[in-house]
């Protein structure tokens, strides 16, 4: 099990309150694979410093979790398939 931190930028035109529940359904991938989700932190709407897919605003969310590498790779893949996900980043905070 490894500690991961995943940052997701979602389309800014989405409803902010629907973000947490919809991300949570994605996190079931981690839970069924035996991982644990420590924290789901939705930063809220934020201006992007440059446009991504012609969009000037995004909703940021940061997820803290412990899981196997394969489960995280699968979660990242599924997130990228979603059109309203502008960008994702998976980081292992301990590796520096």
């Amino acid at each position: 099990m490894r500690h991961y931190e995943i940052m997701v930028i979602l389309d800014g035109s989405l409803e902010e309150r629907t973000v947490a529940p919809s991300l949570d359904t994605y996190l079931n991938v981690i839970r069924t694979a035996g991982g644990s989700v420590e924290k789901l932190d939705v930063w809220g709407r934020r201006r992007l410093t440059y446009e991504i897919n012609k969009k000037a605003e995004g909703i940021y969310a940061v997820i803290d979790l412990h899981a196997e590498p394969a489960a995280v790779a699968e979660l990242d893949r599924q997130l990228r398939l979603n059109e309203s996900v502008l960008r994702t980043k998976v980081i292992r905070p301990e590796v520096r």
């Binding site: 930028i9 992007l48 410093t49 440059y50 991504i52 940061v62 960008r87 520096r96």
Partner: protein, 79 residues
Amino acid sequence: MAKAAVLRKPKKKVNPLDKESITYIDYKDTALLRKFISDRGKIRARRVTGVSARQQRQIAKAVKNAREMALLAYTTTAR
């Protein structure tokens, strides 16, 4: 004169990270990272920032990660 320039001792810089006892440089902490980039968004050199080589690498990594996530700018159009 050239000789005077050689003899001049450079001013010792205080390490800004050690002073605030920051051990982990987080790419999400844009307020901190902004101290290490110029007003045009370029990463400042180590001789300017005064941090250790290791910390400078960590800062560079963090800035680049922050740029990817649109937290910091790659370029500034101003000027």
